[in-house]
């Protein structure tokens, strides 16, 4: 069992629609106590009971890490997704009781940095909101570059530019504004660390540019949660638990294992942390690797799978679980 699977019972105490796509949710402890502290960049995994299926989706905490009375998250509605964000947007009401996990941080600030250079795309802004609050309290030096579609969809643009007029730079795609990345990276003082949260294309662009300019890998941090994708149903056998069952079309392998009553490890549920890595004993078919944890040769070997995001196509897959 992993740290992130410690649960907390909470009540939804506020729901604020920010714009067409993004809504903010506030959670307080159901027993009235204080929530655990966290550090900027941490996420919590929210349990959603949607009829028959239970979904566990990770969301970055955006509230002030020093405030233990409540956690807030901002959720972008994904109409094409498997339903987690739609469930939060449509089914959750103020006063509902929910279960969330203890916070886990896979995107922490490196406090040895002399300066924190943050690059956000769209809803990728959320972890930075908590990090900026943390840094403001400790006089940390930061600069945020935030790209979003337009003013109307730019969540928290006004809050950020009002609170930190000299440190926040916003780019609206619709107005043709773009980040001059090369110039931004070139000339950063020694000891600067980069943090990127946004779409895959943005993450790769920043990482590649930084590498070309000679930035050490250790100074470039990024967070990209993959959402599990739907796919063809398949049969899985768990050797140790001696169970065999079907993974549904809109279910992830990890969700199916949990639904079968087996306590499997996880932290991020997005193919990033490595916690859920599972040995494959037999596979009559093809593993569809979707994580960015396993090395290419491990993926090719067919001996490992990350059940939070990866699937299988074929007759049966046997796991060492």
């Amino acid at each position: 069992m992993s740290a992130g699977t410690n649960k907390i019972g909470v009540v939804v105490t506020d729901i604020v629609p920010l714009n067409e796509l993004v809504t903010r949710f506030k959670f307080e402890r159901a027993d009235g106590g204080l929530l655990p502290t966290f550090s900027g960049g941490a996420h919590t995994v929210i349990e959603m009971k949607d009829g028959e299926t239970t979904r566990l989706n990770p969301y970055s905490l955006m509230s002030d890490p020093a405030d233990r009375h409540a956690y807030t998250i901002s959720v972008r509605r994904d109409d094409a997704g498997r339903g987690g964000s739609l469930f939060l947007h449509k089914n959750v009401r103020i006063g509902d009781e929910m279960v969330i996990s203890y916070p886990v941080n896979l995107f922490a600030l490196d406090l040895r940095a002399h300066k924190h250079l943050m690059i956000a795309g769209g809803i990728g802004i959320t972890p930075f909101l908590a990090q900026i609050k943390q840094l403001s309290a400790t006089n940390g030096r930061f600069e945020l570059h935030y790209a979003c579609r337009n003013q109307a969809l730019g969540s928290y643009v006004d809050d950020l530019t009002t609170a930190h007029p000299n440190n926040v730079h916003v780019y609206f795609d619709d107005d043709g504004q773009a980040l001059d990345l090369e110039n931004l990276l070139d000339g950063q003082p020694l000891g600067t660390h980069i943090y990127i949260c946004g779409p895959k294309g943005m993450i790769n662009w920043v990482r590649d540019t930084a590498e070309r300019l000679g930035w050490p890998r250790e100074a470039v941090h990024y967070e990209e949660f993959l959402a599990p994708q739907s796919g063809k149903p398949f049969t899985v056998k768990l050797a140790k638990s001696d169970l065999e069952f079907e993974v549904g079309e809109h279910q992830s392998l990890l969700e199916a294992i949990e639904a079968a009553g087996v306590d499997a490890p996880y932290l991020c549920r997005g193919g990033a942390c490595g916690q859920c890595e599972t040995d494959v004993l037999e596979a009559d078919g093809e593993i569809l690797h979707r994580d960015h944890w396993l090395e290419d040769d491990e993926k090719e070997s067919g001996k490992k799978i990350m059940p939070c995001v990866s699937r299988f196509e074929g007759r049966i897959i046997v796991l060492d679980r």
Partner: protein
């Protein structure tokens, strides 16, 4: 040949590699004595580096021409100085004005590499991003764990602390912060019972 293969030891002991050219707009190379040979090899791998290289070099007292050879490469900047310690303010200034993307290459003795490494990490470069290559003497920079005094150029085990005079045993236990190995009193239990001195790695 100026290379020496250190036997495997505890994880605290630094390990050194071979300098490899890396992409970046600026390259800072710091070497002492035979460390110059590692820079020659590096430049041979990528001759374009030299035009963007700032070299700080500390020749041995009996330098046989390494400094001249480095000069002949005509790097963008070359500083040849009498000692590392005298050049620390200069190095700090260079690091203060430097930008991300700077590549740091250290070559030569452990004492030089360790101290320059600690300046570079204080300036904000992750230590794993700094390249090192050992060349030349295996002499060590030692800290006496009792009086905290530093003794440079220790070549025997045990040795006498140049500050408090205790007989110290040379450990592989290393401090990155002060760039020195730890020396521990060898005859604390039985004063005067000091094992015979041996040259390091002999």
């Amino acid at each position: 040949m100026s290379t020496f293969k250190f036997p495997p030891s505890i994880t605290s002991r630094p390990v050194y590699g071979t300098l490899e050219p890396r992409s970046g707009k600026h390259h800072l190379m710091i070497a002492d004595a035979e460390g110059a040979e590692a820079l020659f090899d590096l430049v041979e791998k990528d001759p374009d580096l030299i035009a963007h290289a700032h070299i700080m070099y500390f020749p041995a007292a009996d330098d046989t021409g390494y400094a001249e050879k480095l000069k002949a490469f005509s790097p963008s900047k070359l500083y040849v100085g009498p000692s590392y310690s005298a050049a620390v303010p200069r190095l700090r200034r260079i690091l203060q004005d430097a930008h991300m993307g700077l590549q740091v290459y250290l070559a030569g003795t452990e004492g030089l590499m360790g101290q320059a490494m600690s300046e570079a990490t204080n300036a904000g470069i992750p230590h794993t991003a700094i390249q090192t290559e050992h060349r030349g003497s295996v002499a060590r920079r030692m800290q006496c764990v009792h009086c905290k005094g530093i003794t440079e150029n220790v070549v025997t085990d045990p040795f006498t602390c140049s500050h408090c005079g205790l007989n110290l045993f040379v450990r592989d236990h290393y401090s990155r912060r002060i760039a020195a190995f730890q020396g521990v009193c060898v005859d604390a239990e039985d004063p005067g019972n000091v094992p015979p001195k041996r040259e390091l790695y002999s």
